[in-house]
């Protein structure tokens, strides 16, 4: 009677369910049975694909990671571009950052990894978008052609991530603007005096 999913479609449904479960109940209460129930199937289907709980957690994380991609904004100013990126992250990644930073603690312990190991692939992807963005700012004459250090370039995003990790919630927009206007831009723009 019920339609029976197969192959890739089923696998995606399982991984999505696992991720949602991770986000909602956390790693400590992450059970195979709950994932199966959420996906509308049974534990056997999970064990057929992943050997145990941690294997599934790892697969779900990688799966979600692959879906994330930011496209490069072009608002005409460095301020607008960076703020657009931050707003995008703030609107779509709070759950991911929360899970990555907090709920996976048990996973890190068992695998000897840390949140940075999950973050790095994302960051290198974003770094390319940032390259374009800073190049355009140089062309417009907004900033000097000397390349910025990686720390300064990632500064607004590090601060945003920090805020999210402290509050487990989206960051108010005026805080985003504060970060850009009182911390980031003063460091990269030539002093206006």
């Amino acid at each position: 009677m019920p339609e029976r999913r197969r192959g890739a479609a089923l696998e995606k449904a399982l991984l999505d369910a696992a991720w949602e479960e991770l986000a909602e109940t956390g790693y400590a209460r992450f059970t195979m049975e709950a994932v199966a129930r959420r996906a509308g199937t049974s534990p056997s289907v999970l064990y057929r694909r992943w050997s145990d709980r941690d294997d599934l957690v790892r697969a779900a994380t990688v799966h979600v990671l692959r879906e994330y991609r930011l496209d490069t904004p072009d608002t005409g100013s460095l301020r607008g571009d960076v703020l657009t990126l931050m707003r995008e992250i703030n609107a779509t990644r709070v759950q991911f950052i929360t899970v990555m930073g907090a709920h996976l603690a048990g996973y890190y312990r068992e695998t000897g990894t840390s949140p940075g190991d999950l973050r790095d692939p994302l960051v290198t992807g974003r770094a390319q978008a940032l390259d374009v963005l800073f190049d355009r700012a140089v062309e417009r004459g907004e900033i000097k052609p000397e390349p910025l250090t990686e720390r300064v370039r990632s500064l607004p995003f590090d601060l945003l991530r920090h805020e999210i990790l402290m509050t487990f919630a989206p960051v108010p927009d005026d805080v985003l603007e504060e970060i850009v206007d009182t911390v980031f831009l003063p460091l990269v723009l030539p002093p206006a005096r």
Copy 2:
């Protein structure tokens, strides 16, 4: 034969054991039996004081929080003072920040709180130390008398916390210096040009 601890001494030993257990095995594998074993006693002693697991976790966190206090450095320069504080945090608080930021995820979920709620009492305590420190920098003529925003004042510590949360490890000293020299000081010192 064995000496039997009582009252406050016993309670402190129990809370310390609970905290160590939290730091070493994480919240997910935090069991009453393990805490009791580490403290050299039995579960009944724990249940006599705290109604359940989360109650003990909460008490242990508050207990450790109360013990933390930074004394205000006076090295003769703002750079030295801030770096001294950062090195102190880096040397003594990595475990606490890791537990606070990551291992307590389950606790936050149940209590509806977030790491920021645990951090705030610490920060307000530190803010007073920072007041003294910035006042001295003004007196020395290092920085202008206009008060800095809270965001800029806490910037090096937020970045330090962020680094620790990403790596679960102490931050290399040259990274601390990089944060201070390429991000913090350029924002608070008058431009040297």
